[in-house]
Amino acid sequence: MRRFLLALGGLWNASRKVQAGVLILAFFILVAILHQPLSALIGHGRDPLALSEAAAWQMPNGEHWLGTDRYGRDILAMTVTGLTASLEVGAIAGLLSTIFGVIVAFVGGYKGGRLDSILSGTTDVFLVVPSFPLLITLSAYTSRVSLFSVAVILAIFSWPFAARTTRSQVLSLRSRPYVELAKVTKLNDFEIIFQELLPNLLPFIGVGFASASLGSIFALVGLEVIGLGPSGILDLGQMLNWSQGWGALSLGAWPIFVAPVFVLAMLFFSVNLINIGLEEVYNPRLRKTAGA
């Protein structure tokens, strides 16, 4: 455990990109966790998302920092609440697909042989099948789904990516000297996987988790833009759907679509920064030359 913390500390110090990415991500997660007190603060004691007497389609002002929507609801509060739901879906879908993908990758990559061929063949077929169209179809047929079942559906389509990337890492680690040493000292497979391989792969798995979460969040946004997806849940995609349905683009009411687009873009940016930072740390050839 101590060794692991030290390694994390080393990673933190090694790259400013990782630092920046983690800080941005942490900020959004914090906002999502604190969404209740925050939206109370925004509404000055009243529920900022209730239909109110405030004028519709206000531009940003002192009272409503990001203006209001068609029903006079505060857009900043909507964004904060929507972020929470989006991150929740992302976390569930990311977790499920990472766990499943990592198990497939470890079983196949470590054991090798025919089992590996079958598992990676299955992964390949899933990778080729275009996921977004199937996702659209699935949500069109299964109307009235909950947040959780949407997350499960999203996970079904994102696990192959996790499995693919983790497997290649397992393959390269499997033949390292310290794994050989562990085999010679008669550690069993489970001990080798959990004590030797897994700790070394944690950063990759972490990035895989973040990418899978983001992929799921965006897939959900895409579904909602088309008008599918879970009903009655306010998340960032729902805001985009409203902005289109209400003609916010032609009304010139920019906050309702700029706010979710900005938040989502920043999420993508932070995960991307962490990803690139880690790559530089692990691939020293890039470190010196990659800008900043």
């Binding site: 077929v125 080729v128 069109a140 047929y141 946004v221 833009v225 687009v261 993508f268 030359t289």
Partner: protein, 360 residues
Amino acid sequence: MIKSVPRDSQPGGQGLLATLRAWRIAHPLASYAVRRFLVYLLTLWGSFTVTFFFFRLIPGNPIEAYIQSLQAKQIYNASASQDLVKYYNTIFGLDGNLFQQYIHYMNQLIIKHDLGPSLLNFPDPSQVLIARSLPWTIGLLGLATIISWILGLILGALIGWRREKKAAEWVTNVCIGLSHIPYYFVALILIFLLAYQFDLFPSTAAYNPVYNPGLNWDFISSVVQHGFLPALSIVIISVCGWMLSTRMLMVTTLGEDYLTFAEAKGLKPRHILMRYALRNCYLPLITGLGINLGFIFNGNVLVEQLFAYPGIGYLFVTAVQQLDYNTIQGIVALAIFGVLTANLILDLLLPVLDPRVKYN
């Protein structure tokens, strides 16, 4: 008595196998191509099968949905006759058990090259609808992909070549920020600014219906005008991705010894850049381009939907809303076919482009 006989020279029995093996050894290139092609067919069959069963396992009856939609349009009375349902079941290939349906579908797809009738435009088969949307998608996405690849290659080579400059560093960071943003977001902002605020470009459809489609100037300029915004929103983002990958390849290549040697020989920097550095980056970039071109057949659902652009993605969403089985399945099959075929062509082409690639 122990005798070691090489298996190839065993007399009789395995004549055909032996000839095959001899042929494989004599023609490594052709045998690689044949093997690769067999793998391609196998994967194609596998993914068609997966999608077939996926669609059949989804609850919901398309015939019922269709008859309901006809009733909503008051074409039929309260209930459709049993004969009609039976007729529809037959022409939609829904007779018999799942396995019989599978055989019917595969036979229809592979032997007859028919996707079955569509529901969107009933007696027309689905491939007609798809063929109508395909040119728009290929035109829009194909051009956008190629333009952004070329731009990305040039700009990426530049920022990789001048990587110590502050400006190059900043451009790189901006690219990192933009490269993973979905096209759709940019499209939203562009529509808002360029179509509504400044009224420079139209925001929907592929051409102005006033003009007759054909090879006349009005029609073509209308198509270009309507295609500009969707193409721009794709190009802005994907250029950043290509720039980053070109730069990454350049940077790793620039550390190689032969570049130092080229410099020591006194070659002009431009010559070194074009002939020595960039040439060694082509391979992964061409692979990337090929894969991206394969993905075109997916259409871009969100961008096409936002601009009401009549491509594959738009057709797909309409088909899903009508629960039009055959069209949905046809588009998915087309997408799979595109990706797999692009991969096949790349695998066969790469060894020709770069002699360092080995067949195996």
